[in-house]
Symmetry: C2
Subunit: 333 residues, 2 copies
């Protein structure tokens, strides 16, 4: 593995990204120096939040640099080691995604024990997307007995875990997704009321019909019209975990917020945004709970897999057209 391919940001997208914003380059890997290892990546993840890093604006993660390989989560296998903590064959988790391999200090990598799960699960259900669902639902939205839960983007990597965690805890769940295949998946995992937002003319009416008594918790992956409908259906003291707003990530002009935001007041609604990195302390407890749910057959997940580094831009672009059912992944080896 002397040379590997990597994906670079060629130009900053304006609005919806296209294939032309990316370029693929081949680079030589240097041999690991003292304390370093060389890794062959097996899987990489593409996630909606990466769209924000393609803009040249300060945010919670720094912008991707033009002409350089992008960063992102990856699972790889150590192929050469110059550090006692890792040996060839070890699995590692890193932020060196968007490339087939890399040489880096062993210290910045996380050794992975797959505990019987497919390794790529640690980029999805058993990784950041799963923890995002868990932290958002239990800590941010403070889920409590009897809560009716609404989740948008419910067939996605985060949303499908939100729906299943809520079901595993005995809640009534309304999930929104687009298209027949996703609707079928949501029914399969036990979502009580499925809204196909692409088929519905009136999202407000659809949510009101699905939850005639209103909702207590809204887990927002989408923003826009979904957030407005959730405000309309919110009960007194509802809690909204604001995780993502994929409906507006590609907007060139900032779109207006919901017209009914004043409902926060009369309904005493709490709306809280969050980034999973502030909740890593919950990871051990989450993995423990997840193992139990998997064993009891209460949680499963889907993957949409693109093969080959050259397909990673397509995988990423597919997030915004809703091509993924469950976690969107790229298999690199």
């Amino acid at each position: 593995m002397a040379s590997v391919r990597e994906v670079r940001l060629k130009s900053r997208p304006v609005g919806t990204p296209t294939r032309d914003n990316f370029e693929i380059a081949t680079v030589d890997l240097k041999d690991p120096g003292p304390g370093e290892v060389q890794v062959k990546n097996l899987w990489m993840t593409v996630d909606p939040y990466m769209r924000g890093r393609m803009n040249d604006v300060k945010s919670y993660a720094p912008p991707f640099a033009l002409g350089e390989a992008m960063q992102g989560g990856a699972i790889g296998e150590v192929t050469a080691s110059n550090d006692p903590s890792l040996k060839p064959g070890d699995l590692v988790q890193s932020m060196f995604g968007w490339r087939e391999g890399f040489t880096a200090p062993a210290q910045g990598l996380q050794k992975l024990d797959p505990r019987g799960l497919p390794v790529q699960a640690f980029l999805g259900a058993a990784g950041m997307p799963g923890l995002t669902a868990y932290a958002g639902l239990l800590r941010i939205a403070a889920l409590k007995d009897g809560d009716v839960v609404f989740v948008s983007g419910a067939a996605g990597a985060v949303g499908s875990m939100v729906a299943q965690i809520a079901k595993a805890k005995g809640h009534e769940v309304i999930g929104s997704a687009g298209g027949a295949e996703k609707v079928a998946f949501l029914k399969e995992i036990g979502v009580d009321h499925v809204i196909d937002y692409k088929a519905e003319k009136d999202l407000n009416a659809a949510l009101a019909a699905a939850a005639p008594g209103g909702i207590d918790v809204y887990f927002d992956n989408v923003g826009g019209a979904h957030l407005e409908a959730a405000l309309n259906s919110a009960k007194l003291f509802a809690r909204f975990a604001i995780c993502g707003m994929i409906s507006i990530y590609n907007a060139t002009e900032p779109p207006p917020g919901p017209r009914n935001l004043a409902q926060l007041i009369g309904k005493n609604i709490r709306m809280e945004g969050f980034i999973v990195s502030h909740h890593f302390d919950l990871m051990p407890k989450y993995i423990e709970d997840l193992s139990g749910w998997v064993k009891d057959g209460k949680v499963k997940w889907k993957e949409t897999v693109f093969e080959g580094i050259e397909k990673s831009p397509d995988a990423f672009l597919g997030l915004f057209t809703g091509e993924n059912l469950g976690k969107m992944l790229v298999k690199l080896a």
Copy 2:
């Protein structure tokens, strides 16, 4: 006091209310039956939330009925009693505002001990507006040491108490209000940075200049552009207490929300609406704290007083053109 005047809602306003939406009627008061008292009102309050009750929509308070006297806070004096719990001369607080007097069951009235304060203070600083400030700042926004506080509508009944409570607790406070007189008042009560929103072309820039390090707490009485500016200036983990949105109460079409709502996510902002009636448990502690602050000269308040029941519609309408400095009140006797 056989007959009294009262103010009725004659027609439901569309957009900004006008004098024509109100009518004044004279009614005879019946003598108090068993368990009842007759009360002469001394003061009544007009508040922005009443605008919502003029619409025929379900909200946290039921709509005012057409052709009937409106409800609202009032302070009065018992003139005749047929109940052992109250005697002529006793002061009472009630929701029978918008009228010069009334006959009602003693049980629904609250006997008032003015504790050395002017009685009308119990409609303002020592009443619901003051408690709104206290609960919103301390419980909803969870004010903590070192927080930089931004309050809009800062010269109003609620806002001026928010500013002073925050100052009394040692915080840096930025207050926004409109016009030279209000700006002068805010400086007088120790607000560190005063923004005259009527004079500022760019509220975002004005707030960024007043709080170059950002804000930790925003107390929103206004909504609209103020909320958008607060989101732009919010620090990580900022808390917003959403108390009112007077900028949109008279809108005929629901206005769009802030265009930058997605900042909730990256900044982990908590935004929480509230109604003071869910926080009455804090009243004893608030009155205790307030007494201390008044004694130490840390808190004072202004009143804008209209005289006579016939002026109450003008007092109410003045809330939306910003005519009040501090609490808007109507003196009835």
